[in-house]
């Protein structure tokens, strides 16, 4: 019955037009803080570089999560993958070189993605429950692995490549962000793989009827999500010169919010990579602006909530007027 599709689609129609609204929100928040923080360091290149560098792991996670959401899955395990991959990478660096350490860390992501995907698709159960389960398991493993000890990294090339380095004055963290985002953008918007992802998220039965291997596509999406999280783990490790079991712990809700505000549907079928990136920068900018504005922690929390609400509201206003 097309009411059903109209239902979803009318809602989505509203939302699709909203894809553009992240630009307005971003601009609004930027101008807001620029006005509020005129005589501070807010409007400086180094502060913006700072925000971009700080949010690099978040951005990569957001880009990865976009894939999972595109097919209609949620992946709650990404935060725990960040910690485990960082720890594995840091531990391997004590014994081997960068290539193996990076491989090992990424393998954490691939393995978790596979496990998530196989469980969800084989058992045909809720991605929320399964990834909640794997999140617990992985967090436990990460805590057990070094018994809550931090693992330092002294390999200078590693911390250069994944953290503090710059190439031609461009911070590597920015390069990582841009390369991964560009790749994701092309896959989603220019390749047939992206079409299939969105088709599976938009109407899995129709996609299946057209011969798309729905199960496999969903599996790839979950792989993308957790492999991106593993890379984010390496970036955290590079920045912090070490790994800790708490890494990534607090990122989950921020990442989901960033992706959602960027125009990706939480129910599948609609995805926007540029939105995810701007969304995560937005979160970074709000944090930074609020800290600079000298609010107390409590006031910051209140203000962050209000800004989020106003931002969402503005996005919609924009749509209604246009």
């Amino acid at each position: 019955m097309s009411v059903q599709s109209l239902t979803l689609s009318q809602v989505k129609q509203l939302a699709i037009k909203k894809e553009a609204y992240i630009y307005y929100i971003f601009l609004f928040v930027l101008l807001f803080f620029a006005a509020l923080l005129q005589d501070t360091a807010f409007l400086t290149v180094s502060n913006f570089m700072n925000i971009v560098k700080q949010t690099a792991p978040l951005t990569i996670m957001a880009v990865g999560l976009t894939f999972a959401l595109a097919v209609g899955h949620i992946d709650l395990s990404i935060g725990s993958v960040v910690a485990l991959s960082a720890l594995v990478g840091a531990l391997l660096l004590q014994h081997t070189g960068i290539p193996l350490a990076v491989l090992g860390a990424l393998l954490v992501g691939v393995t978790v993605g596979l496990i998530n995907g196989l469980l969800i698709e084989r058992l045909q159960v809720s991605s929320l429950l399964i990834t909640l389960g794997t999140m617990g398991v992985i967090t436990g493993i990460a805590r057990q692995l070094t018994n809550l000890e931090s693992v330092p990294i002294i390999n200078q090339s590693f911390t250069f490549m994944f953290g503090a380095g710059s190439v031609f004055n461009i911070p590597v963290l920015l390069i990582w962000t841009l390369v991964i985002s560009l790749a994701a953008y092309l896959v989603l918007n220019k390749l047939s793989a992206g079409r299939h992802l969105l088709a599976v998220g938009g109407n899995p039965n129709a996609a299946r009827a057209m011969g798309i291997k729905v199960t496999r596509v969903r599996l790839y999406a979950l792989l993308a999500s957790s492999t991106a999280a593993a890379l984010a783990g390496l970036l955290y490790a590079g920045r912090l010169h070490g790994a800790r079991y708490t890494l990534g712990e607090a990122d989950l809700l921020t990442v989901i919010a960033a992706v959602a505000i960027g125009g990706t549907s939480l129910f599948g079928g609609r995805a926007c990579i540029v939105g995810a990136i701007l969304g995560s920068w937005l979160m970074g900018m709000i944090n930074n602006g609020l800290i600079l504005s000298g609010f107390s922690t409590n006031e910051q929390m209140i203000a962050r909530g209000i800004i989020l609400i106003i931002a969402v509201a503005i996005g919609v206003k924009e749509y209604r007027n246009g």
Binding site: T40, A41, T44, S46, N47, N50, K53, Q54, Q94, R143, N147, L148, E149, S150, V151, P152, I154, G163, A164, R239, L240, H241, G242, R244, T246, L247, E249, A250, G284, N287, N288, I291, L292, S296, T297, N298
Partner: protein, 328 residues
């Protein structure tokens, strides 16, 4: 009971059990449970100390819980533990108001309670609880101020990043630091910001430094929170800013050993805290009275004494990488 003045507190070194008492305890086949507030390497070290001391006394540890800083979870933990009827409970209360009734319920079953740092209002020493073991929070805060003054050579601009949550130990240490640092007329605190979760400190430090480029040192509540601060300073390329904190962590000690941003830290002795708590709890079974408050000493840590202090605190050998860095 007032913990603000720890001068008359018992020293942990004085808590000992005689050979005869140990024999008596071994014969009793006792059980113990540990109801902690959270998890960290620090808590693990306390657990290790307690476990080792209990083992020497033939006491079995039947449960270890982690309330994840949630009083409701701690109450549930204590209820679950009391289903096992342990003889001794070692605990750090997340929130004394919320947990009081449950502690009371638990000890009414006969368990001996030993508290870590956080007193329970209205509890009577010797009746409701056997004793409190604590580190010298005020001494530590003051020591951190002294180290800060050393770092700045008694003259300079300081930033404070404090724990903005209601948590007994960190609040007391931060407050003691604040008060002590005011005694140094040439050190000015030019920025003070709070954090709730450890991961926030990186953003906060970066913002603080961008806003106050003339900053020379930062005090931050504890080690893992300091990791973010040091990361931000590295990322902003500010090796000149010194960081002073509390507790020991490999990552930051490595930074200190390689002449990074971390100037000094103040370390207590978690292993001894655990061992002392265990002994007080066991003693209480034999009706051996303990002091209301027993304090465990602390050490000021700078580059040259890392190895010794590590041994004091954790009773384990120095991690390999750290050892390498120090002997280079």
């Amino acid at each position: 009971l007032n913990l603000d003045n720890l001068h008359d507190a018992e020293k942990s070194a004085n808590v000992v059990l005689s050979a005869k008492q140990i024999q008596q305890l071994k014969a009793k086949k006792l059980t113990a449970a540990l109801a902690w507030h959270g998890s960290s390497t620090w808590v693990s070290a306390v657990t290790n100390g307690a476990k080792q001391a209990f083992e020497e006394l033939g006491i079995k540890v039947v449960a270890i819980t982690d309330a994840q800083f949630d009083p409701a979870k701690q109450v549930a933990d204590l209820e679950n533990i009391s289903a096992m009827n342990p003889d001794i409970i070692l605990s750090l209360s997340v929130d004394s108001t919320s947990t009081k009734a449950t502690y009371a319920q638990t000890i009414s079953n006969g368990a001996k309670l030993v508290l870590l740092s956080n007193p329970i209002e209205g509890f009577v020493h010797g009746k409701d609880y056997a004793g409190i073991v604590t580190d010298d929070m005020f001494g530590m805060g003051k020591a951190a101020a002294e180290l800060t003054s050393d770092a700045l050579e008694n003259n300079g601009k300081l930033g404070i990043i404090f724990h903005d949550a209601n948590y007994f130990i960190t609040n007391n240490r931060d407050q003691a630091f604040r008060e002590a640092i005011q005694q140094y007329p040439h050190i000015s605190v030019i920025s003070e910001k709070g954090f709730v979760k450890e991961h926030e400190t990186s953003n906060i430090a970066a913002a603080m430094v961008l806003q106050n480029p003339d900053l020379q040192a930062i005090y931050v509540s504890w080690d893992s929170a300091a990791e973010g601060v040091i990361e931000a300073l590295r990322s902003l390329d500010r090796p000149d800013i010194k960081v002073i904190t509390h507790d020991l962590g490999v990552n930051n000690l490595l930074d200190m050993a390689t002449d990074g941003n971390l100037y000094a830290t103040v370390a207590d002795r978690p292993f001894d805290i655990g061992a002392t708590m265990a002994k007080i709890g066991a003693g209480a079974i034999l009706n051996k009275p303990a002091a209301p408050v027993t304090i465990v000493p602390f050490d000021k840590v700078t580059k040259h004494n890392i190895a010794t202090v590590w041994q004091h605190a954790f009773k384990t050998s120095l991690p390999k990488l750290l050892n390498q860095a120090l002997t280079q």
